[in-house]
C-alpha cells in the first residue's frame, strides 16, 4: 500500500507510473495533451451558449425561450408558409380551370391527382377505404360502374354536393320505394323480382319465378332501372345486369334491398372543403382506373 502512495518513475521512459497493475503490467501515467483540455472547455462554453440561445431548460409547463426565439413549431410554420408559396401557382391554376378542361396528361393534372390522393387519405378513407375499394354500402371507386356518372365533371358534382345531403339544394337524391315495408309488393312477389334480377345478372338460370318477376319488374322497377335493367344515371339507379353490387347480389341482400330500399348518404364536400381540394379529389378518384 505504501509503495503505491509514492510516485514511481518508469525507468525506460522517465514517465510516472500510476497505481494500476494487471498481471505485473503497469500503466504509464501519460498526461493528456493540453489542446484536449481546451477542446473540452470549448465544448462547455458551446453548451452554455446553446442553452442561452436556444430553448433548452424544461420548466413545469413550458421551456426556456432562448434569446433567438427559435422554436420547432415556428420552424414548421415557416416551412409551411414557404410550401404554400411554392404551390400557390398550381393552386391558382386549379382554381381557375374547370375540372373537365384540365389536360389529363398535363403536370397540372398530375399535381391535382397527387393533392387529391393526400386529401382522400384525410377525408374519404373512413368510408371508402384507404385504397378506395369501398365495402358493402360504400362504393368501390376503382371500378367502372358509376351510379351518377364517372367522368370528371360528374365525379366532381357528386363530391361537391354529396348524396342525400340535407342543406345542399343540388345534392343527388335517388329514392327507391321500400316495396316490402310499404306493402307495395308481397313477400312472394319480392322473391319473384329477386329471381328476375338474379337472372338478368346471370347468376341464376331462368325459372318460373323469374318469369313472373319479369312482369313485376316491368311494372314497378323499369321506370328507374330501365326495361333492360341497365339502370339510369340521371336517377342514380344502378345497373342490375353487371357483376358489381353495392349492397350485395346474393338472394338475401337483394331481398333486403327490395323490401326496405337503400338510401346511403355522402357529405356534400363543397360545404366542408375548399373548391381546389374538391377538384383535386375528383381528379384523384377519376385517376383510380374507372374514370370515364
Amino acid at each position: 500500500m505504501s509503495e503505491q502512495d509514492k510516485k514511481q518513475i518508469d525507468a525506460a521512459t522517465g514517465v510516472e507510473v500510476n497505481a494500476h497493475e494487471w498481471d505485473g503490467i503497469q500503466e504509464l501515467n501519460t498526461p493528456l495533451p493540453r489542446w484536449w483540455l481546451w477542446s473540452f472547455y470549448a465544448c462547455i462554453v458551446f453548451a452554455l451558449g446553446y442553452v442561452v440561445v436556444y430553448p433548452a431548460i424544461p420548466f413545469r409547463h413550458s421551456a426556456s425561450a432562448g434569446t433567438l426565439g427559435w422554436t420547432s413549431r415556428g420552424e414548421l410554420k415557416k416551412e409551411l408558409a414557404s410550401a404554400e408559396i411554392a404551390r400557390a401557382a398550381t393552386v391558382k391554376a386549379l382554381a381557375d380551370t374547370p375540372i373537365e378542361a384540365i389536360d389529363p396528361k398535363s403536370p397540372l393534372m398530375r399535381a391535382a391527382v397527387e393533392g387529391g390522393k393526400a386529401a382522400f387519405k384525410v377525408n374519404c378513407v373512413q368510408c371508402h377505404g384507404s385504397g378506395a375499394a369501398g365495402s358493402k354500402g360504400y362504393p368501390n371507386l376503382n371500378d367502372d360502374d358509376w351510379l351518377w356518372g364517372g367522368n370528371l365533371k360528374e365525379i366532381h358534382a357528386t363530391l361537391e354536393h354529396g348524396i342525400r345531403q340535407p342543406g345542399d339544394d343540388a345534392t343527388r337524391i335517388s329514392q327507391m320505394p321500400a316495396f316490402g315495408r310499404d306493402q307495395l309488393l308481397t313477400a312472394a312477389q319480392i322473391q319473384d323480382v329477386v329471381s328476375y334480377v338474379r337472372l338478368v345478372s346471370r347468376q341464376d338460370p331462368a325459372t318460373a319465378s323469374a318469369q313472373q318477376g319479369a312482369k313485376l319488374f316491368a311494372d314497378n322497377c323499369a321506370v328507374c332501372h330501365g326495361t333492360d335493367a341497365k339502370g339510369n344515371r340521371t336517377l342514380g339507379a344502378p345497373n342490375l345486369t353487371d357483376p358489381i353490387w353495392l349492397y350485395g347480389g346474393d338472394r338475401a341482400s337483394l331481398t333486403a334491398t327490395v323490401t326496405n330500399a337503400r338510401a346511403g348518404v355522402m357529405p356534400a364536400w363543397g360545404q366542408r372543403l375548399d373548391p381546389v381540394t374538391v377538384k383535386m379529389l375528383a381528379a384523384y378518384v377519376h385517376s383510380l382506373g374507372g374514370g370515364e
Binding site: K7, I9, A12, T13, G14, V15, E16, N29, T30, P31, L32, P33, R34, W35, W36, L37, P104, K105, M109, R110, V113, G129, S130, G131, A133, N140, N142, D143, D144, D145, Q203, N239, D242, P243, I244, W245, G249, S287, L288, G289, G290, G291, E292
Partner: protein, 484 residues
Amino acid sequence: MSNHANRTGKAGGLYARRPDIFPRAVDGFYRRLKWAVMAATLAVYYVTPWIRWDRGPYAPNQAVLVDLANRRFYFFAIEIWPHEFYYVAGLLVMAGIGLFLLTATVGRAWCGYACPQTVWTDLFLHIERMIDGDRNAQMRLRNAPLSVTKVAKRVSKHSAWLAVGVLTGGAWIFYFADAPTLLRAFVTGTAAPVAYSTVALLTATTYVFGGWMREQVCIYMCPWPRIQSAMLDERSLIVTYKDWRGEPRSHGIKRTEGVPTGDCIDCNACVQVCPTGIDIRNGPQLACITCALCIDACDDMMARIGRPRGLIDYATFEDCEEERKGAPPVPIRRTILRSRTFLYFGGWAAIGIAMAIMLGARTRLDLSVGQERNPLYVQLSDGSVRNAYTVKVRNMETRPRPVRISIEGLPGALVWDSLSEESTAAQSLTLTVAPDQVERRRLYVRAPRTGPQPADFRFRVTALDPQGGGDDDAARFDRPETLR
C-alpha cells in the same frame, strides 16, 4: 533520457503542453519527392473542379461534380445514380486495400507524402519559414520580447495561413456545384449560405490543423498509426537508424583518440528536421510518418564527414539484420515483389476490374414494377378483372428516350395508364422518358375473369430509339377466388 519524456513534457500533471517543434529546412532526394507529391496533389485538388466535360444539353458540363440536390455523381464519362452507390463503396474498399498494399510495400508512404494533413502542414511550415526564417531564427523570434517586427511577422504569418485556409475551403465547394457560376455567386455574395459556412468551416479546420495542431493530429487523432503497426511486417520498408553502424556516437570524441566510435556524430540534424519532433535513433515509433527528411539530413552529414550514405535509410527490418551481419545493402525494389503485396494487389485489382466490367455492361434503361395491393384486384362491369401497377422507368441517358411498355405472358391482357382513358387500352403503350429522369406511371392491366390465380407475367420496356436496349421485371395478376 528520452525523447518520449520530452514529447510529453514534464512528468506528472494531468495535461501536457505541446513541445514547440521548429523543423529545420532540408534538401535532398526525399525532400524533392515531397515537393513533387505536394505539387501534384494540390494541383489535382484545385484544378479538378474546373475541368469541363460536354454532356449535352440535359446534364451539367463539369467533369467531376457531386450534384447532391439532384442526387447525381458525375465523374468524367461516368454518371452514378443513387441506386448505383455501390460503385462508391467499391472505390472506398479499393482505397482501403490500396492503403494496405502501400503500407505492406513501402511502409507509411501515405502518411509521409500524400496525406492531406501532411501536405497542408508541409505547406504551412514552408510559409512559416518564408516569414520567420529557418529553425534558429524561429526559436530566436519565439524568445524575443514583443516588438513591432515580431508583431508584424506574427500577423503576416497567421494571415497567410488563413488565406491558405480560405483557398482550401474555397476549392472544396466547387466539387458540389457548377464552378464558374458558384465562383461568381460566391464573390458577389449571392451564393447559398451552405457554401459560405462550408468555406468558413474548412478555413477554420485547415488553419487549426495545419497551423496549430500539425503532428498532434497524426499522433493523437488519426487512427491509422494504430492500425499500421498491424500492417507492417519484417519485410515492409520503414525508416530505420542502423545502430550497429552508428553506435557508439562520437560527439565530442576525436576519431583519432582510439576510442571505438560509430558513424553517428550526434549532430542531431535528424531530430531538427523532423516535422513530428521525434528522434528516429530511438527506433521505429508511432509518431514517425516516414517522410524520410531525416534520411536527407543524415545523408548530407555523412557526405560532409566522408562516410557512406544510409546511416538512416529506408530498409526492411529483415535486410537491416542481414546488413548487421555483413551483407550488402538491398535495393528498395526487392521489397515490393513478394506474396503479401501480390495478394493485396490481386484483391485491389479484382475489385477494380469487376467494377469496370459492371460499368461497361450496365444498362441505362431500367424498369421496376410494383403491384398495387389496395385493392389487389378490381371487378369490372363487363366481368373482366383489373389490376393496377406502379411502374418506374429510369432513363439514365442524358437525352429523352421513347420507350414501349408491353406485357408478356398474360393472355388477353390490355394495358393503359392512369393519365389516359380506358378506351386507349392496348397490348402495349408508348411514352417518352425525360433525360436523366425516372418516369413513374400508374398502369392498369385488364384481363379476362378466368385464368390462373395468381398469374405470373412480365412487363418489358423496350427503347424505341436506334440505340435500343431494354429491361423487364416480373409481376403477378390477381383475380377473385370465387365467381360472384
